[in-house]
Structures are given as structure tokens and as C-alpha cells.
């Protein structure tokens, strides 16, 4: 009986490891004047224990009609961590503005914190999401 439970648990762990976990997301409302609000959405607690969202900075551009954002990502573990991130910008109606929305591979050394920047794709951008997830590349094995 115990053996059957162990097998079931192992299968569950194996399947969970294969499944893609939703990314951790930092929702930010901002304008060229600065940050309005930010909210963290943690979907992957394992990753959140290693990569933490830090300070968000906003810099006005184009005479105040556009902006550049920087999100500090902190490796809270003492080991090197590789992950993927992306920024997606939205207008006031919630329409996606970004044309480059691909996941970008990145790495942080143990305890390292670094700013990841993105520029608003247009003057009508009012919010963005900074997403972080575990490295999930398309490899030659198709996994």
C-alpha cells in the first residue's frame, strides 16, 4: 500500500515538473510623472524564493510624453540563477502595445541584483507587466 502511495506521489512530482508553471508577474501602473501603483502576482513560489522583484524606477522621455521603466530583479539565493523575463506594455484600455514580447533568457549570480529596462513602445502606454519564469527553452529534444 505504502509503495503504491510513493509511486503515485513520484508520478505527481514528475508530472508537475514537466508542466509549465505560470510566470511571476509584476503589474505596474505608471506615467512619465512616475509610478502610480505596483502589485506582485506570484504563481511560482519556488522561483519567487530565488528571484524577487525589487525597486521600480520610471524615467520620462520625449519631453514627458513617453517613459522608460527599470525593474530591479534580485537573486535572493547564494547560487547562480538562470531565468526568462519579458515586459509587455498596455494602453489605458488594456490593449497590448508591445511588438517585441518574446521571452529573454537572463542570469543573475548569487545575491546579485540588476535593473532590467524597457522603454514604452508609444506615448499612450500607461501600464506594463514584468514577467519572470523558469528557463523553458525549445531544445533539440522538443521538450
Amino acid at each position: 500500500m505504502a509503495r503504491r502511495w510513493i509511486m503515485l506521489m513520484l508520478t505527481a512530482v514528475f508530472l508537475a515538473a514537466c508542466a509549465g508553471t505560470a510566470p511571476n508577474v509584476l503589474h505596474v501602473q505608471a506615467g512619465p510623472g512616475g509610478l502610480s501603483s505596483k502589485k506582485e502576482e506570484i504563481n511560482d513560489r519556488g522561483l519567487a524564493r530565488r528571484i524577487a522583484f525589487g525597486e521600480v524606477s520610471i524615467r520620462p522621455l520625449d519631453l514627458g510624453s513617453s517613459m522608460e521603466a527599470q525593474v530591479v530583479l534580485q537573486n535572493t539565493s547564494s547560487r547562480d540563477v538562470v531565468f526568462e523575463y519579458r515586459f509587455i506594455w498596455y494602453d489605458a484600455a488594456g490593449f497590448e502595445l508591445s511588438t517585441v514580447t518574446s521571452w529573454i533568457p537572463a542570469g543573475l549570480s548569487g545575491k546579485e541584483a540588476r535593473g532590467f529596462k524597457s522603454t514604452a513602445p508609444g506615448p499612450n502606454a500607461v501600464s506594463f507587466r514584468c514577467m519572470v519564469r523558469n528557463l523553458r527553452p525549445l531544445t533539440d529534444t522538443g521538450s
Partner: protein, 198 residues
């Protein structure tokens, strides 16, 4: 009982044979997914370069003055030993920059012959209503041009292969000849062959 054993054996054989079928499995994937199939220049490298260049250029003082300068993409030299479509990188950047509304691009260096033919057709063929035809001599001159290069350093030792790419892009003021903006993106990729196979 014997019949069940034969049935199970047949089912297993069908699974085995279908697994060995020679036709490839084709699936659609996300264009946004990170790709590490080989160390050669791939879609993720293109996207990483476009992302870095666009973010940097949109934040550059030359594009933050409130004007909408006219640019043209001159050339991105491929100095690697791979066949790279460098135009795919600049096209990706151009689309994003145009959508920002902060810059305009001239098509003169790409489709000038077609434009001249069309202008001649509209003005000289007699087929086009002169009230609707375009007028010669009104093309907008470019303020800046983009040029750059991509280089690579490859090394392999034993089972490890290391590739380093460096993409550099410059924005030149045509009137003054000054480089007003420059940015580079470095990419390092490593592959380790398996001990068995590969």
C-alpha cells in the same frame, strides 16, 4: 488467457511500430519561446537584439526631442562565418520603431527603383489622371541612417562548443556625419555534446 496475452502483445507492437514511424511530428510553437536547438544564430538571438536596440534607441536623446526624424537602414554587415539574414533584425526593429510613432523611415534604399517607375508611370504614361498623380521631387530626405555589424567568436574543445556574438548598431547624422547613438548587444551560447551519441 492466451488470447488476452496475444491481444496485449499486438497492442504493444502497434505502439512500438507507430513510435518508430518515419514521418516527423510537426507542431506549432510560440514565436516568443526561447529557442536553444543549436548554438547557431536563432530566433531568440534576433529577438534579444531587436529588444535591446529598440529600447535603447527609443530612450536616446536624438529620438526624445519631440521631432520625428527620418531614418534609413543602410547596412548591417555580417562578419560571422554563418549565413545570417541581418535584414530580419533591422526589419523587426523598424516595425517596432515605426509603431512607436517617434520616428519615420524612408524606403528609398530598398524600393527606389519601384518608386521611380511608379512616379514615371503616374506622370508620363498618360494613363493616370494628373489631378491624382504624385509629383516628382517631393520625396523626404533622411536625417539619419543606421549601420552596424555582427561578429562572432567560436571555440570548441572536447565536448564543449562556445559561441560569442556581438551586434553593434550606430545612428549617423547625415548632415554632420556624427554618430549620435550607438548600442551593442553581446550574446554567449554554449553547447555540450552528450557523452553517448550526439
Amino acid at each position: 488467457m492466451k488470447r488476452i496475452t496475444i491481444l496485449v502483445f499486438l497492442v504493444c507492437a502497434v505502439f512500438l511500430v507507430s513510435g518508430c514511424a518515419s514521418s516527423p511530428t510537426v507542431t506549432y510553437g510560440s514565436a516568443e519561446q526561447v529557442e536553444t536547438v543549436t548554438t547557431e544564430f536563432g530566433s531568440t538571438d534576433l529577438q534579444m537584439i531587436a529588444e535591446k536596440m529598440v529600447n535603447s534607441l527609443l530612450a536616446a536623446p536624438v529620438l526624445t526631442s519631440g521631432e520625428r526624424p527620418v531614418l534609413y537602414v543602410h547596412q548591417v554587415k555580417n562578419k560571422t562565418d554563418e549565413h545570417l539574414d541581418t535584414k530580419a533584425v533591422t526589419d523587426k526593429m523598424r516595425v517596432t520603431l515605426l509603431k512607436s510613432g517617434r520616428v519615420r523611415f524612408t524606403a528609398v534604399n530598398e524600393v527606389n527603383d519601384e518608386m521611380i517607375k511608379q512616379l514615371e508611370y503616374q506622370t508620363s504614361s498618360g494613363y493616370v489622371d494628373p489631378r491624382t498623380s504624385s509629383v516628382i521631387g517631393r520625396q523626404v530626405g533622411a536625417d539619419y541612417f543606421l549601420f552596424g555589424e555582427i561578429t562572432s567568436i567560436k571555440k570548441a574543445a572536447g565536448r564543449v562548443q562556445d559561441v560569442y556574438y556581438k551586434f553593434t548598431l550606430n545612428l549617423v547624422n547625415i548632415e554632420s556625419g556624427l554618430i549620435e547613438w550607438a548600442e551593442e548587444k553581446e550574446i554567449r551560447k554554449q553547447a555540450k555534446k552528450p557523452l553517448i551519441g550526439g
